[in-house]
Symmetry: C2
Subunit: 347 residues, 2 copies
């Protein structure tokens, strides 16, 4: 939020596409032995021994997925990588490579693209991922970021969404709702700024929810923890669209039902207090907020002893027969049918 008033602005046309790609990728260090050849040819070359390869892709569009009026480009780059890595971790894999394609209008100078790549490169460094290719192109359409992630997993150890069984426990990592509240804070400050551009944003006390929104961390640690605990989930998904949307994916694909207990949903104290301030129901925010990038998974009930007491993991309910439906059991003991209320970018 603090800006250099006289930043350097090099027009992208000064470097051209190839110059810009060279410039952005010159310091890349290869970290994964599966990366045989990275940026610089028509394709990257990867090699996996006896492992299986995971691939996922996500597209982020300006003013749909992010608002540059309050998202610093470095954070945006970092988050764009997290969104993708999260998909690999949610199958119990290890993310190993990404490709990054960017379309941006000429209103962005080279320095802006550098900032974006700073975040991308930092994410790669911290998560041991190699940037192996991509594309940079102009756009009269604002900024678009498309990332594809590649990962590896032991043969037949990838955990899909369709393996949940009646009696399994529903487990979630971390806590929920923070990212959505961070967005509310940012939106509020944007409105204040529109009315009074001289105002300084008041973000004190919102550090946690702001960080959840602007700089989320994908849960690379959870597959490791589960491996160490010798727990192989029966199904798994990452929470990008909100708990309700994700649990419905698991239930639909596994052909099962579920009971989630409202009182078990993990919430950070700052999320609860921010909900009070914004007059929002914390459970609704956790169910529908999205963008938390935590992991939701099911385990055999016999594995409960292995995970109990782990501070990163919370059992929030259990899987039932499909005929029992998908239910939220409220604090008052009432059963409410869970409906998808995830972000629907199409509507």
């Amino acid at each position: 939020m603090i800006e250099d008033k006289q930043p350097q602005r090099t027009p992208i046309s000064e470097l051209g596409e190839f110059g810009l790609i060279d410039h952005l990728t010159k310091n890349i260090e290869i970290k994964n032995t599966s990366t045989k050849y990275g940026v610089g040819d028509d394709c990257a070359i990867l090699e996996y021994g006896d492992k299986q390869t995971l691939v996922s892709t996500d597209l982020l569009v300006e003013n749909v997925h992010f608002d540059l009026s309050y998202v610093p480009l470095k954070h945006l780059g970092y988050k764009a990588v997290m969104v993708n890595l999260s998909d690999v971790y949610s199958m119990m894999g290890k993310a190993t490579q990404i490709t990054v394609s960017i379309a941006m209008s000429n209103r962005f100078p080279v320095e802006a693209v550098e900032e974006l790549y700073e975040g991308i490169n930092l994410a790669c460094k911290l998560y041991d991922v190699d940037l192996v290719g991509g594309d940079v192109t102009s756009s009269n359409l604002g900024l678009v970021i498309s990332i594809t992630v590649i990962g590896e997993v032991e043969k037949d150890k990838a955990v899909k969404r369709n393996g949940a069984k009646d009696g399994d426990l529903l487990v979630v990592s971390g806590d929920l709702g923070g990212a959505y509240l961070g967005l509310q804070v940012l939106e509020r400050e944007k409105e204040v700024y529109k009315v009074n551009p001289d105002s300084q944003p008041d973000l004190s006390g919102y550090d946690y929810v702001m960080e959840r929104q602007l700089k989320p961390e994908a849960r690379m640690d959870i597959p490791k923890i589960l491996n160490e605990l010798d727990v192989l989930p029966t199904s798994m998904i990452d929470i990008s669209d909100g708990l309700s949307s994700e649990v419905l994916h698991i239930c639909t694909q596994s052909e099962v039902g579920c009971n989630i207990y409202e009182e078990k949903i993990p919430l950070d104290p700052t999320v609860i207090s921010a909900c009070e301030e914004f007059n929002l129901d914390a459970t609704t925010v956790a169910l529908s907020g999205g963008e938390d990038y935590e992991l939701l998974f099911t385990i055999n009930a016999a594995d409960y002893d292995k995970i109990k007491g782990n501070p990163s993991l919370t059992v929030i309910g259990h899987i039932t027969d499909a005929s029992a439906g998908t239910n939220l059991v409220t604090r008052a003991g009432e059963s409410i049918t869970i409906k998808a209320q995830g972000w629907n970018h199409m509507s």
Copy 2:
């Protein structure tokens, strides 16, 4: 160019993101044994035995890479896949999977997306490629298509750009310049249409160049032919930005020079006659036109006998020491330094 006057128009919001993805991917058949699991989870699962994996990605942006006023969506989908497959063939690989991400504004109805996917699915079918994942999102920014392709190649048989040696022969597949001329014809008809919307486009005699522009075919056959002829190129690249830009990539990365002979550059007779009509120099068009998606490669001179007489392959010059520079030898015997004049979307 012939439109159904009362096409069906289903708003995308009627299906929603997940509904739309299900709808678009429900008929996908898996063709590659390396595809263990396709669309429907956080990641696709791939498995490669002793082979190496190739990955490449390309981003196509409306009004930068394509103009929907004359490109039918089905053709666009087909071409978007070709652009990516070409990168795998240009490393002597076999393309096996793609992911497709699309951002589009609400002005597109479901039927438009279906048309786009018809082209994508047709390309996958004809090129034995599995569509294994993707993302569909809205955009207030027009249409953006991001495709990532994955392929395989025998261990250490991937041909990069950096292996050309002094004395190697420069070879090109097919013929050049057609795609650029197809674009000129389409642009001309667009101008005519603007002045007189009742005019019928006059495209007779332009079938070949129109097809080169609107429905290019990636050269899947060339790696096969070279394998059968027992020729492993020393370097290889696909011609997306024009011959001059691509040969400079090879020369720069291989640290060599080259002589290309103007009289050897393969041109289709319809390209030559269209050049005359448009008052364009055919050699310039071949050097700088781009979008032909032919392959340019270098072979050891000892392999010449193996490829000579093959109707798909033309020797256009040879590699020299770097100190000799990168030259076009004209019909008059003059040497002109080759400069990159490829499409620069950044300028």
